[in-house]
Symmetry: C2
Subunit: 270 residues, 2 copies
């Protein structure tokens, strides 16, 4: 197997990108795993195929939109990845596959609106729904209340202090009660409020472990913070991999931050 690739990242969430406008190269779980392998492949948190909507048989919307065919590193498909979408947009712009800085893209989670400048990419991720109940989350010796937030995927957001954040050992997955609240597992964000509209967090992604950034987790944290504090403005969130902004608009939560393409080349599976 030989395949031309690009690689990019947004706040150190990294992706292998395969450009396939005409849909001539469908990905398979084996190919995705081979590309995403950090030692025998190129390496990434996910693999994104760039394909015209009209060439993707599961897309029934506008055939002219670019479709983000997103796969997790383990070979499963995912509906949405906020940082992946930002890197996808940067790729479209860099390769001049679009001729505007604000446009729509197609994803398994539907049409998403996006906007970019030279430094940052903003993606409209839709509503972030903060639940009315709370759960209790446990991580090592720490046990805290957390707020469920749905951003298309499930999150639990716990507010902690700086020492608690620093001392967390997320090498072990957090647990929660009641266990049945998240039957399909949950992403857990531990959040410190640094100041008005300024958060810092660490995240444990379900099925993955601690990561340096999680786009939907950043949105969930900002939404839970607004609910708890009544703060109305844009929220800045520091993650281990960098800094992201969240705005809340009538059209949903907007995630903004850097996204760069760092390499291109050819991969050959021996």
């Amino acid at each position: 197997m030989g395949i031309t690739f690009h690689k990019g990242h947004g706040t150190r969430n990294d992706f292998v990108i395969i450009e396939d406008p005409e849909g001539m190269r469908e990905l398979t779980p084996d190919v995705v795993r081979a590309l995403a392998d950090r030692r025998s492949g190129i390496g990434g948190d996910g693999v994104i195929r760039v394909v015209r909507g009209g060439a993707f048989d599961q897309w029934h919307g506008d055939p002219e939109l670019w479709f983000m065919d997103y796969w997790n590193a383990d070979g499963s498909v995912a509906e949405m990845c906020g940082n992946g979408l930002r890197v996808f947009v940067r790729y479209l712009l860099q390769q001049q596959l679009v001729d505007q800085l604000e446009f729509d893209v197609a994803t398994r989670a539907g049409v998403k609106h996006v906007r970019a400048d030279a430094h940052a990419v903003s993606v409209w991720l839709g509503p972030a729904t903060v639940a009315d109940d709370v759960v209790r989350v446990r991580s090592g010796a720490l046990e805290v209340e957390a707020r469920p937030v749905n951003v298309g995927n499930p999150h639990a957001v716990a507010f902690v202090d700086a020492a608690q954040l620093r001392e967390l050992d997320l090498g072990v997955a957090p647990t929660w009660e009641p266990a049945e609240r998240f039957p399909e597992d949950v992403n857990v964000e531990f959040v410190v409020v640094e100041g008005p509209g300024e958060l810092r967090l660490r995240v444990h992604e379900r099925g993955v472990g601690e990561t340096e950034s999680c786009g939907t987790g950043v949105v969930a944290a900002a939404a839970a913070y607004r609910r708890a504090s009544g703060f109305e403005g844009p929220v800045r969130v520091e993650v281990p991999g960098g800094s992201l902004g969240v705005d809340f608009t009538d059209a949903g939560a907007v995630l903004t931050g850097p996204a760069v393409i760092v390499a291109h080349g050819h991969f050959t599976q021996p």
Copy 2:
């Protein structure tokens, strides 16, 4: 910064390769760390610059030899890396920078003899010196005797049973007594004897953690096994990343196994 790279691996020890025959592009710790970063760079356990001996100012031997300018991912230089040397040799052959299958290469640890075929690369790593003393190694609840072996770098080889090997948690570095036996830290191999001349091991590399393969660790394990068993033939060693062979010759220990180049491309640091 823009730079052309190749990437290869040997039993899942992976390396970024920079070809620089005339020595026009000296590496710096910053460049090495940027290339080796698995998220914002290309990713690798190390970075290898391929340079003519005559173009490398610290090499005073045959100027026609190819010099392996090896750097660890953290930006420090290393004298030798057994799997890195095997990948370096595969690169020279694949790029037709040599016209024979058996030749000498230059390294910070001196001239090393190498030989290759389509499947495997053999490298002569010099003597593996098994010490006469023993140390006690502790990893979690396991406490076992281990044999010091010097293969240019320090190793401690402990023989365990299959259940002990499986249950090891090498997320925490092993400790040893007497502590002063290895003042500069030590690589620890936990080894199961599967049959005559057949070993299986897991390794904790000093300063790195558990890895899927360690060339000098494989040689150290084979040497300690020969000493303990009196076995005279070639030794096969299964590591998490694959399978390697060790022969002992009058010219030193020979490490043999697969080495492949999987990608090439261009890296741009934004």
